[in-house]
């Protein structure tokens, strides 16, 4: 990627020798990459809402949005414009600086996670060695946005929603982290690109098959981590109006909304990268059907991401909401022991079978 841009620049202004100029060009390339990733990801987020409404409508024997644009395709933009021009209301007793800051923390932490995701071979804004840990770190920072919005609104519904969300996110973060340890053991790395490459070398081509326990735990923990049904207790409308963002309106509300869907996109991407092989497909498939190897990697990656997004919507329209004590029971008494057992099992097999 960088080589292409470099050769393009050299074509126009000749060999770059000045080190400061070289650094400037590097920074410029990174800025372009960031802009491209953010714009593309936000477009995906916009259409994820449309996708969700259509899928849920079909599952509930409705037809979903149809009015704006052909088959309702411009609906996300109409929603965005509406939210942008809505009045921004701030409660009189709100703690103003924190009330302003909370949605920014929530949205920014979700967007920052995008920087370490390798969308296709050799493309990630920051290809760092601790990519997986970085995603955990950012998702735990997102919890601050939720707690602070709940506290600063000075409303009991928002406050209860914030408290519920914080304890839920902390509890399920443990299960999620432990469920990925099996993948780390098998791949021998925390770098997301390395994990995908290790999967491609592996006979099954996907860690979801040997790591089925980890995959199961991860999918459930990801639902809870992004506050989605059936674990959306923090925004349970029958108990808490809208939970932590009850007092938010206009574009500040939109930031929570976008942050939640970006979070879903990131969790789906992590599942696709760590368990489903990312931008690669299993080698036995390309051996049987060689023409499939000409399909660009980003296509496979997006197909996998949308498969998991569909799973999110499917679960949402199928299951009723859990009770809060049931949610904590599942997290601490089922998922964490399962994930721990998976780590022990994977480590044993790794030691006994050398070629794994």
């Amino acid at each position: 990627m960088n080589e292409i841009i470099y050769s393009f620049i050299e074509y126009f202004i000749g060999q770059v020798s000045n080190p400061w100029l070289k650094m400037g060009i590097d920074v410029f390339i990174i800025l372009i990459q960031i802009a491209a990733v953010v714009v593309v990801a936000l477009l995906h987020v916009a259409y994820a809402t449309y996708f969700e409404r259509k899928v849920m409508a079909r599952m509930q024997v409705r037809i979903g949005p149809t009015e704006v644009g052909p088959i309702g395709l411009l609906q996300p933009f109409a929603d965005g414009v509406k939210l942008f021009f809505k009045e921004d209301i701030i409660p009189a007793n709100a703690d103003k600086p924190i009330f302003y800051l909370a949605p920014v923390i929530f949205f920014a932490s979700a967007l920052t996670s995008l920087s370490v995701l390798p969308f296709f071979n050799n493309f990630a804004v920051a290809n760092i060695n601790v990519g997986l840990l970085f995603i955990f770190a950012m998702s735990s920072i997102g919890a601050y946005g939720i707690v602070m919005s709940g506290w600063s609104s000075d409303s009991k519904f928002a406050f209860l929603g914030g408290l519920r969300s914080a304890s839920q996110v902390i509890s399920y973060e443990i299960a999620m982290g432990l469920s990925l340890v099996g993948v780390m053991i098998m791949a021998g790395s925390l770098n997301l690109s390395e994990i995908v490459r290790a999967q491609h070398q592996y006979p099954t081509g996907m860690f979801a098959i040997p790591q089925f326990i980890g995959f199961f735990v991860f999918l459930i923990a990801a639902l809870a981590e992004t506050n989605r049904l059936p674990f959306d207790l923090p925004e349970a409308e029958s108990e808490l109006v809208a939970g932590y963002f009850t007092e938010y309106s206009g574009f500040r509300f939109a930031m929570f909304f976008l942050g939640e869907y970006t979070g879903m996109l990131i969790m789906s991407s992590v599942a696709a990268l760590c368990f489903l092989g990312g931008w690669t497909i299993p080698q036995f498939i390309t051996n049987a059907l060689p023409f499939l190897s000409y399909v660009p990697g980003i296509v496979w990656f997006l197909l996998k991401v949308y498969l998991i997004m569909f799973f999110y919507y499917w679960v949402r329209s199928t299951f009723p909401r859990y009770r809060y004590d049931q949610l904590m029971g599942i997290g601490w008494k089922v998922l964490i022991p399962l994930a721990l057992a998976n780590i022990v099992l994977t480590a044993f097999v790794k030691i006994l079978v050398k070629g794994l």
């Binding site: 703690d95 924190i98 800051l101 060695n129 601790v130 506290w151």
Partner: protein
């Protein structure tokens, strides 16, 4: 030059943020400044090529410990108590202890000798990746202290559960 500039920035900002944390009247604002402080400490680790420690700093301190602080602060509902006098009566004793510790630290630093560079040079860590180098050394050379540390943490966890557990039957 650039390295010194970075270190200077982090050092100054960390001191400034620590002061902000202990001088805010509102404990929730203190926690928010502390969050920023933890990010700067993580940045300092990154600057020292310790990427694993930097990530763990954010996950453990900012993501878990500070959220628990926040819980305590929120559940106490300190909004009404913000008018209370800020300093406790025993501050002269605290000041004397602080000055004494500062004097000791200044005196100790003078006898500080830089150790000869060992096996774990920056090149070695870049080659082996920081996580792997740290894991190998923790589980081979420092296995015993590592296990003792984890045992101490386990005892703390069990202790907390014993303290918090409601007695269902009275003996």
């Amino acid at each position: 030059m650039l390295a010194k500039l970075f270190f200077g920035y982090y050092a100054v900002v960390i001191i400034f943020l620590s002061l902000l944390v202990i001088t805010r009247k509102n404990p929730v604002h203190s926690v928010m400044w502390m969050l920023l402080l933890f990010f700067h400490i993580a940045g300092l680790y990154l600057f020292l090529n310790a990427e694993f420690i930097a990530a763990i700093q954010v996950i453990v301190y900012a993501g878990a410990i500070l959220v628990l602080f926040l819980f305590v602060v929120l559940l106490l509902n300190l909004r009404e108590e913000l008018q209370v006098e800020r300093f406790v009566g025993s501050w002269p004793a605290g000041l004397i202890i602080a000055v004494a510790i500062f004097a000791i630290v200044v005196n100790v630093i003078r006898s500080f000798v830089l150790a000869p560079p060992g096996k774990y040079s920056i090149e070695y860590i870049k080659e082996a990746t920081h996580t792997k180098a740290l894991g190998t050394i923790l589980y081979t050379e420092y296995l015993f202290p590592f296990e003792i540390a984890s045992l101490v943490l386990l005892i703390a966890i069990i202790g907390a559960i014993v303290l918090a557990k409601r007695k269902t039957r009275s003996h």
